[in-house]
Every structure is written in C-alpha cells, then in structure tokens.
Point group: C7
C-alpha cells in the first residue's frame, strides 16, 4: 500500500512526482504484469514470437484470444497486458505499415515501425485527459535487407531492440531463463524451442499445453509471417519433453 | 464496500490504479450483471441468440423491450446491461455494416463487425470526459462464406469468439450450464433448445415463459436473420418440458 | 440520506458507481417525480394523452402550462418533470419530424421518432460537462399505416412501447390503476375516460377539475392531433362522476 | 444555512441533487429576489409594465437604471435581478425580433419571442462551465392579430403566460395583491393603476415616488411601445392617493 | 474573514452562492478599491474626467501612469483598479468606436459605447475559465448631437449614467462630496474645479499635487477630447486653494 | 507562510481573492526577484540597459546567458526572472517589431512595442489553464523621432515609462540608488556609469566583474542597438573604481 | 519529504508557488537525475558527445539504447532522463533542421536549433493539461561557418552554451571534473579523452566499459556527425588506463 505522498501524484498522467517519476506509466506496467507472457527470440534466420494463451472457458474459440498479430507480410507483434489497448496499437502499426508501402512502395523497416508505435504511445503519457496504453508489444520481423529484428515497446513509449525478450506475467523469471539459454547464431528451430521452453518456465508444472500456446515466425528466406500449426508445436514440445495436459 | 485506496482511482475513466486496473471498466461490468441474461450458441448450421425479457408491467409492449437486434441481413446482436447504451452500439454496428456494403459491395464479416464495435468501445475507456459503455453484446451471424460465427464484446473493448456464451445476470451459472451441455456439431434446433434451457437455468423455478423469451437465428442456408414466433418457441419449450406460467 | 460511498459517485454524469449505477440518471428520475402526472392510453382507434396541470396562481394562463405538445400532425407528446428540459426535447422531436418529411416526403413513424429522441437523451448521460434531461415523455400518435402507438422515454434514453402508461408524480399509484383497468380493444372514448380516471387517482379527493386537466387525442381516422375543449372534458368527467371544484 | 449534503450538489450547474433539484437554478432565483420589483398587467386593450427603480444616488441618471426595455415596436420587457444578465437577454430578444422581421417580413409574436428567450436561458442550465442567468423577465406586448399578451421567464428557462404578474423583491406580497385586485376586462388605465398600486405594496409606507417608478404600455390600437412621462405617472398616483416623497 | 460557507462559492466565476451572489464579481470590486480614485463630472458644456495618479517613484514617467485614455475624438475614459485590465477594456472601446465609424460613417454615441463595453465585461462573469475584469471605467464624452454624457461601468457589466461619479479608492467619501456639491447647469470650468476638489477630498491633507492629477475634458463646442496642461491645472488649484506639495 | 485563506485563492490564475488580489500574478513577481538584476537608464542622448550575468560555471559561455536582447535595430530589452519565459516575450516583441515594419514601412515606436507586449502578458492573467509570465522586461530604445524611451513590464501586464529603473533581485536597493543618483539631462556615458554603479550596489562587496556584466545602448545619433565590448565596460569600471575580481 | 505547503503548488504545471517556483519543472529535473550521464565537450576542431549506456540485460541490443542521436549532417544530440520524451525532442529537432534546409537551402545553425527546441520545451511549462519534458539535451555540432558549438537544454526551456557540460545522473561530480580538467584550445582527441574520463568519474570503480559507452563527434573539417567504433573507444580507454570489465 502506497503512502499519502505517492497518492498525491499518481492520478494525473501529465504530472511528475517530486522524485521525477510518472506514476500512471508505472501503473500501466502493472497492467502488463497481470497478463499472460509472450516471448520473442531473434535467430540467425528469422524472428520467433510465442504467446501463452490463457483459456478462460472451453467454449471460447482459442483463435480469438489474440496474442500474436500479423502487422504486415514481414512483421508480427506479440502483446501482453490490456487486450483492447493492444488491438489499438496493432491497428496503428498496420496503418503505419500500409502508409509506408503507399509512400515509398516498399515494406517498412522493423525499427521504423517500432519507433512509429512508441512515438504514438509517448503522446498518451504527456497530455492530460488520457491514460497510457496498458500494454507491451514484442515486434518481430525481417528487414527488407534480410536482417531479422526484434523490438519491444513499453507504456512510456521507449523502444529497445533485443536478441530475446519476454513481456507480461512472470517476465523476470522468463528473462532470467532467456539470458541463461540464448545463444548467438541459433537457428529458427532452436529459436522456436527456446521460446516454448521459456513459456514453459512460466508454467507451474513446467509443461506447455500445445493448445494453449501460439507460435509465429518470420524467416529470412520468405520474409513472410507464418503461424505454426498445432501439430508442428506439438512435435516441438514432444522433442523438448514439455507436453502438458490439455485443460479440456 | 471498497477501501479508501480503491476510491482514489475509480472515478476517472482514464487512470490506472496502482495495481494496473481500470475501475470504471470493472464497474461497467457490474452494470451488465444488473440486466437480464442473453445467450448465444453457434451450431453447425447457424447461430442462435436468445434473450430473457424482463417484463416490468403487463401494459408494456414486450416487443419494445429490445434485447435482440437485427444489424444486417446476416448478423444479429443480443445485448445485456444498460439498454440505452446498447442502442448506441447497435446503431454503430448497423452503420458499419452499411458502410461495408457501400465500400466493398458485400456483406460485412461477423468478425470484422465485432472488431469495429470493440474498437469503438475501447475509445470510451482511454479518454477523460466520457464513461465506458455499460453493456455486453453477443454478436451472431453467418459469414459470406457460410461459416456461422459468434462473438462477444465487453466494456473494455475486447472481442472474443465463442461456441456458446451467456451475458448479463447469472452469467456464471449459465456459462457452467453451457460448458456442460454444449456439443460440437449440434444442429440449429439443438442450439435453440440449448439456449432456451440455459435461459431457464437463470430462472428460479427453472421454467421459461414463452412470452418472456426472444429467440433469433441466422442459418447457413438463407444467411438471413429470423425471429422465432411465440408458437415456435412454445413448441420448443414444451418439448423441453420448460413451459412456465405467464405472469399476466 | 445517502452514505459517503454513494456521494463519491453521484456528482459526475460520466461515471459508474462500483455497483454499476449511474446516479445522475437516477437523480434525474427524481426530478420527474417532482412534477405532476401525465397519462397515455393506446386504444383501438387512436392514442390518448392527458395531463394534470398544476395551477400555481389564478392569474397564470392555464394554456401556458405546457404539458401536452403537438410534435407533428399525427404525433403528440405529454411531459412530466423539468419543464424547460421538456421544451428542448419537444423542439428536438419537432425538428426530427420535419427532417423526416423533407427527406422522405412522408410523416415520421411514432417509433422512429421515439428512438431519435432517446438517442439524443442518451448522449447527455455518457459525456462529462452536461447533465441528463430531467424529464419523461409519453409519445402518442398514429403511424402512417394507421396503427396507434404509445411510447415513453426516460432520462437514461431508453424507449419502451406501452398500452397505457403514467409518468410524473404518483406514477406507481397511477400505473397500478391502469394495469387494473386497461382493456384490450377499448375505443377512444373509453381511453379518454380511463386517462381522466387515472389522473383522478392521483388527486387526494379523487376528483378532477376540468380546468386543471388537458386531453389530446390522435385518432386513426383523421391521423390528426386534436385537443379536447373544456366542455368535452367536463362532459366526460360528469359521466365519470369525477367533477371537482375549480380552485378559482 | 444549508447542510453538507446540499453543498455537495449546489456548485455545478450541470448536476442534479439526489432529490432531483438543480441548486444553481434555485440560487439564481435568489439573485432575482435581491432586485427591486417589476409588475406586468394584461388588460383588454394592451399590456402594462411597471418597475420600481432603486435610485442609489441623486447623481445617477434615473433613465439609465434600466428596468424596462423596448424589444421591438410592439413588445417591451421588464426585468428583475442581475442587471447585466438582463441586458444580455434583452439583446438576445431584440436580435430574435429583428431576425423574425427579416425572415418573415412581419413582427414576431409575443409567445414566440418568450420561447426563443427561454430556450436560450435553458441552455445555460444544462451545460458545465456556465452559470444560469440571474434574472427574470416580464415580456408584454400586442400580437400582430391585436391580442395583448404577457409572459414571464425564470432562470430555469420556463415560459408562463399571465394575466398579471410580479417579479423581483417582495414577489409574494405583490402577487397576493394582484390576485386579489386583478379583474378580467379591465382597461389600460385600470391596468396602469393596478401596476402602480402593486409597486406601492412593495414599499414600506405604501407610497410610490413618481421619479422612482417607470411605466411602459403597449396598446392594441397603436401596437406601439410607449413610456409614460413622469407627469402622466404622477397624475395616476395622485388619483390613487399614492404620491410619495421624492428622495432628492 | 469569511466563513466556510462563503468559501464554497467564491472561487468559480460561473456559480451563484445560495443567497444569489456572484462572489468573484464582488471580489473584483475590491480590486477597484485598491486603486486610486478617478472622478467624472457632466456639465452643461462638456464632460470632465480627473484622476489621481499615484506616483510610485520620482523616476517613473508620470505620463505613463495611464488613468485617463482617449477612446475617440469625442470620448475619453477614466479607469480605476487593475491597470492591465483597464488597458484591455480601453482597447476594446477604441475598436468599437472605430467599427462604428467604418460601419455608419459617424462617431459612436457615448451610451452605445458604454453598452458595448459592458456587454463585453458581462461575458467574463458568466463563463468558467476566466475571471471578471478588476476595473471600473468612467466614460465621458459628447454625443454627435452635442449632449454631454457620463457613464460608469463595473465588474458585473452594468452601465449607469451619472451627473457626477467617483470610482476607485475612497469612492464613498468622494461620492458624498459630489452629491453635496454638484449643481445642475454648472459650466465646464466649475466641473473641472469640482472634480479637482473631489480628488482633494480623497487626500489626507486635502490638497492636490498638480503633478499627481490628470484632467481631461470634452466640450460641446469642439467635440474634442482635450487634456489640461499642468499650468492650467495649477491655476485651478491655486484658485481653489488646494495646491499641495509635490513629492519630488 | 501564508494562511489557509490565502491558499484558497492562490492556485488559479483566473480568480480574485476576497480582497481583490491576483495571487498568481504576485507569485510570478516572486519568480522575478529570484533572478539577477537588470538596470535601465534613459539619458539625453540614448537608452542604456545593463544586466548582471550570474555565471553558474566557468565552462558556461557567458554570451549565452541572455539578459539583454536586441528586438529591432533601435530597441533592446533587458530581462529578469524566468529565463525561458523571457525568451518567449522577446520573440513576441521581435515579431511585433517586424509586423510594424511590414505594415507601416517604419520602425515601431518604443511605447507601441511595450504595449503590444503587455497586452500579450495580460491575457495570461485572465484565462484559466495558463500561468502568468514569470519575468519583467526593461525595454529601451529610441523612437523614430529621436526620443530615447525606457519602459518596464511586469507579470500583470502593466507598462510604465521610467527615467531609470531596476528589475530582478535587490530591486528595492537598486531603485533607491537610482532615485538618489539619477540626474536629468545626463549623457549616455553618465548613464552607462550610473547603470554599472547600480549593478554594483546589488553586489555584496560593491564591485562589478567586467565579465559578469552586459551593457547595451541605443543612442539618438545612430538609432542602433550596440553592445559594449568588455574593454569598454572595464574602462568604465576602472574609472568608477568598481573593478571586481573575476570568478574564474 | 515535502511539507503541505509545497504539495499545494506542485501538481499543476501552470501555477507558481508563493515563492515564485514552478515545481513541476523542478520535478522534471529529478527525472533527468534518474538517468545515466551524458557529456559534451567543445574543442578547437569539433564537438564531442559521450554517453553512458546503462545495459539492463545482456540480451538487449546496445545500439538500441539511444543516448546519442544524429539530428542533421552537422549536429548531434546527447540526452539524459526520460527516454521517450527525449525521442520526441530529437524528432522535433530533426524536423526543424529539415525545415531550415528547405526554407533557406542551408544547414541550420547550432544555436538556432537549440533555441527552436527550447521554445518548444517552454510551451510545455506554461499551459495546463500537459507536463514538462523530463529530459535534458546536450546539442553539439559545427556551424556552417566552421565554429564548433555546444548547447544544453533543460525542462524549463532555457538554452545555455557551454565549453563542456554533463547532464543526467551524477551531474555535479562530472561538472566538477570537467571544470578542473577542461583546457581552452584542446583538440578533438583530447576532447574525446576528457569526455571518457568524465564518464568514468561517474562510475564507482572509475573505469569505463567500452561496450557501455557511446561517443559521437562532429569535426570542423568534415562538418559531419561521426560515431566512434568500439575499437577507437577502446584504444582511447587503454591510453587513459580506464578499461573496465564488460558486464557480459
């Protein structure tokens, strides 16, 4: 429980606390921790995004629990946090990608896209009357020159580039795992395995239900976003000895 | 009764609480629980929407207690919660459906419509000076390619796709019933029966008054929204042994 | 007297209370109860609106205490609550009726009109900086196809259709009377009698002063709004044995 | 002194109190009571407006203490309350009268004018950021068809038509007098006398200083606003035995 | 010191207190009392404005302590209160005077000008987000038809016409003096003398420093604003036996 | 420390306190006192502006501590208080000077410029949502007709003309010195000396570091703003026996 | 911990405290202190910018921790504080540089650029509804005439020119070091060494990890922004005996 002093400064997006903090941005980070985890891994031949889909009911269409989003042919996004906010940012990202194609007749670079999105996020931290976006994004893709890239955005609007990163619940545990296990030059298959293992780290019994995980890759050969089908995920999990029991 | 800390963060739509929650959105969900229940079921050959019409007086025209709304030829909506808010969203949905026909000369997909509506809802959760919509919608219909679809929206602006869902009062009891009884591949008639039984679950004596329930279906053959007439409903209820006493 | 918790949520139109209520809308309903009663009755051959005119002084022109308003040739409105607010809604209704004639070259339907008005009312419940309308309307008329219709609006912006309804002070007593006495298929004369008797129910000595009551009908033959002159009202009252002493 | 509960609702124009009241509108009525009285009388052959001019200093030009205002050839206005607010409403009334002449090439009806003004007043009671008008108007004139009319506006924006009315300080005492003494069919001279006597009722010693009272009439013959000169007033007062001592 | 109740209503320009007062307007009147006095006198052959210039330092250019302002050829203004606010109103007055010349090709009447200015002032008392003007003006001039006029404006936006008036500090003492000494039909020279004597009344030792007083006249012969030079003022003072010691 | 009553009125720019004060304007004056002093002197053959440059570090470029600003060929400005606010006003002044040249094809008068700037300042004291400018300016220059002029602006937006003035920290001590030592008709060199001595008065040991003082003059011969180079300043200081130790 | 008085004034950007301070601007300065340090050094043949890159994880791409930004061919910026805010200012700076090239067909001067940026910053300190920028910039470059320049901006919007400066965490320690060690006329290589040593001063063990430091120079020969590659930095560090252990 925070003290009276903190309360005096944490209800307006557009004010600093005496120690120079923006509390609403920090609270938006808490909204992210309330979500399930997503993981991004950059490999030598592509970017990997994986997401833990929390299934609330056996009747819900798992495909509609959107954690991984295609932004353009060559860029995908994993989100964690407030779902409706994530959808706004993904829509904005798609628009920026289209604008780039219309304006320059070529696909947008992954870094350019990440910066367009973070500029948009920042504006929601400096003006009154709005709140920050309660969502983090991992943006993975392949640049027009064939380089795989992986970026992350946070509610303050800061873009960072990563070799591998985790967003959402249990972030610290997953980051520790990634820092231990990530190897330079690993190939796409190893990247998918690493991402699945990381997701498993966030699970209590260390297993992963193939129905409850989504994996999307963008490889340097095709420059195309591609979702792994459940069988492919299952075979990965079997190989990793991570198969969990389906909740159904 | 909530504590002082909560009160500090729950009166502005555009702020997060220290633990990353948006209280006004959560309170809007309470407004939904105050309404009567609606149920949606997706079957192999169509979507079913059913609603419990709370009749306040024998003098009120039951037809005017709008819980089921035709949005386009092939899509209908069931609402639960704040009635006047529901009407705004239904009007918005109708406009989007018309815009789609004008722009692309074809009916809007059910998922596209659900996302247009949730984007609209989300905007009322991030800016100051407005409140969230105090209403949930079940959006059922048949896609131009003949696939039946069923979506749900909530006050945060998140769209989920369901095989069967319940919104409004007694949601948890009705969802439990649906999870137990829903079967893959059930036909439209079975879907209507399931929906009526679910509505009955929310009633104290487990019966359903044919006057107090509305049922609308969209089948994959005609792609047309069709309301069941009272006789059809009554015959279903008789078959299900669910006939209740009319209040009149 | 309300407790501290309620006070925290009842001063802004655009916020929900923790239990999902909109207090300003509920308080606007209290403003309606402070007014005198109006009654609407739908009969087989027309709609009837009657209003109790509270005369504050013998010097006031009774005709200027507006409770019944002509909206178009075929639609009239009875109001209860904040008089100045009622005038705004009536003006808005008249504009909508005119717009319909200009756009489609035909009279507006009674339901369409009721929905235009309630959409307008709803907007005053979701944005900050304004208050809800403190008024209820009973909208009676005859549709272009000859069907008599009767609608009611409330401060939340919800439209309901009624066979007979009462708005304003003593609503509950009058509704009980109407529920007991309303008969399907009653003719216009019986409707006028029922409306006058209902108004009398709200009076302490059960009588009605012909000077203090206004009656307007729209019949299915002429499709025209017509005010009953005092003699016609008096003869009705005499027949009903409801003649009261004039206050003058 | 009002209690804490009232204080919670009386500082914003655009909110209702729990019992459905608009406190700012009620406080604006108090501003009117702080002013001196004005009286309006409708007679068979014209409308009479009279006003008590409180002279603060012998050096002030009495003609500049505006209580009676010519709005158009055939309509005049008496005001009570906040002087500067009154001027705004009178200006607005004059504009509306001119607009009517330009648009329809005929003088505006007295009732139409009263309603234009009250619609304008109402808007200041429903939106935030403004306060209600702290003024009441008595609007007297002769309709184009030769009928004398007398209307009154209040801070809520409600128009009422009167045979005779009083606004401002001591309203209740003056209204009682008017109710006792007003006679149907009285002529213009009798109306002037009644108005002057009513003004005298508000005075402590029951006399009226001819310098401190203004009288304006609009008769059905000329359809013209005409101010009575001091001699005419004095002769009326002499006849009524109401001559007071001038303060000078 | 005001009590808690008053404090609840005195911080917003756009609200009434429960007894119908506008506290911000009343506080703006206090700002005027903090300034030095100005005096206006209307005589048979012109208007006189005189102002006490409080000299804060011998180094300040007295001419820059603006208390008297030329608005047009035939109208001048004396101000008291918040100097910067006065400048805004004088600028507004000048614009209105120019607009009149452009539109009607003739000089603006003194009363018209006073009303334009007070309409402008009133708007700052009815809307939120602004404060009233903390200044009073005495507006003196000669109408196109040769009549000398003298008006006064206050922070509420009320215009009054005067034979003689005082604004600013010590207003009550000066008004008393003017009421005692003003005579109908006095000529311009007598008016200048009266104004100077009134200014002297506000001084502790009853004398007037010719350097610290400004006098402007508009006579009916020339219709021109004319400032008296120090010698002329000094000769007046000598005649009146009012010569004070210069502070320098 | 101020009491509770003051606190109630000092946080909004657009409200008066009960005694007619504008606290935010007064607090802005405190911001000026926190700055170093600037001095302006008007002499027979030109205007002199001098400023004390507080050097925070030997590494800062003294030239970038802007206290004296060229506004146009013939007008310069010295500022004291909030540096960033001063820059806005200087930019505004430059724009006005350019506009005057474009519109009238001649240099702006010093008084006209001062009034344009103070009108701009005043607007920041009457509307909500902004704060006053925390800066005072001394505006010195030579009018097109060859007259040297010196004006001062304060946060209320009042312009005064001076023979000599001091703004910023220690204003009272410096003003006292200037009042004692200023002589009518002194020439530009004497004015520079007086300004430097005044700056020295504000220093603890009464000396002036030639590096820490800026001097700008506008003479009546050239009508050009000219900054004195360090050698010129040093020779003045030597003559005045005011040479201080450089801090470096 | 600040007292109640301070709290009363520190939550609105647009108000002064009673002692003339703008607390939100001061709190924004605290946000800067929370960041890592950046250093700027102006040498005889170019400007040097160096930044300490705090690496949060070995997986983050160091290149994406942006502390040094290229604004135009000849100008670079180092930032300290809120990263997302810095990006906005850098974008604004880039736009201004492009606008200058388009408008005048030549590179923008370093001082002009610094002033455009500080004007932009100042606006966020005077209006309500926004917060100040929580960032400081060191702007280094070479003017079109070949002069190296170094400016600094702070949250108040004040530009200062420096020979050498430090922004961000440990500013005071680093400034002290720079004041001791900076020598006039030092060449670019000496400037790079000085900047690296200063960064080392901020480190606990006084060493600098070549991976964790960025250096950018703009030399007077090429007028081009150039980033030093890690080898160049390492050789500098070796020469300075400052090599630290890499964290990886």
């Amino acid at each position: 429980m925070q003290d009276q002093n903190q309360q005096a400064y944490d209800r307006g997006t557009s004010i600093f606390s005496p120690d120079g903090r923006l509390y609403q941005v920090e609270y938006a980070r808490e909204a992210i921790k309330r979500g399930t985890a997503s993981v991004g891994v950059r490999t030598a031949d592509g970017a990997v995004l994986a997401a833990d889909r929390q299934v609330r009911s056996p009747l819900v269409e798992e495909g509609s629990i959107e954690k991984l989003h295609r932004v353009d042919d060559h860029i995908a996004v994993a989100s964690a946090g407030h779902v409706a906010d994530a959808r706004q940012l993904v829509d904005y990202a798609r628009e920026q990608a289209q604008v780039n194609r219309l304006r320059y007749d070529e696909p947008i670079g992954v870094e350019s896209l990440a910066k367009e999105v973070t500029d948009y996020i920042q504006r929601y931290t400096q003006s009154g009357g709005v709140r920050p976006f309660g969502v983090a994004l991992a943006i993975g893709g392949v640049d027009p020159d064939g380089t795989p890239r992986l970026f992350e955005t946070d509610p303050s609007g800061t873009p960072y580039e990563w070799q591998a990163t985790a967003i959402g619940g249990n972030r610290e545990r997953l980051m520790g795992f990634l820092e231990d296990e990530y190897r330079d030059g690993m190939d796409l298959d190893a990247g998918v395995a690493l991402a699945l293992e990381a997701i498993g780290e966030g699970d209590e019994d260390g297993t992963v239900d193939s129905e409850a995980v989504e994996v999307t890759v963008v490889d340097t050969e095709t420059h195309r976003v591609r979702s792994l089908d459940p069988e492919a995920i299952e075979s990965h999990l079997a190989e990793l000895d991570l198969e969990g029991e389906a909740d159904e």
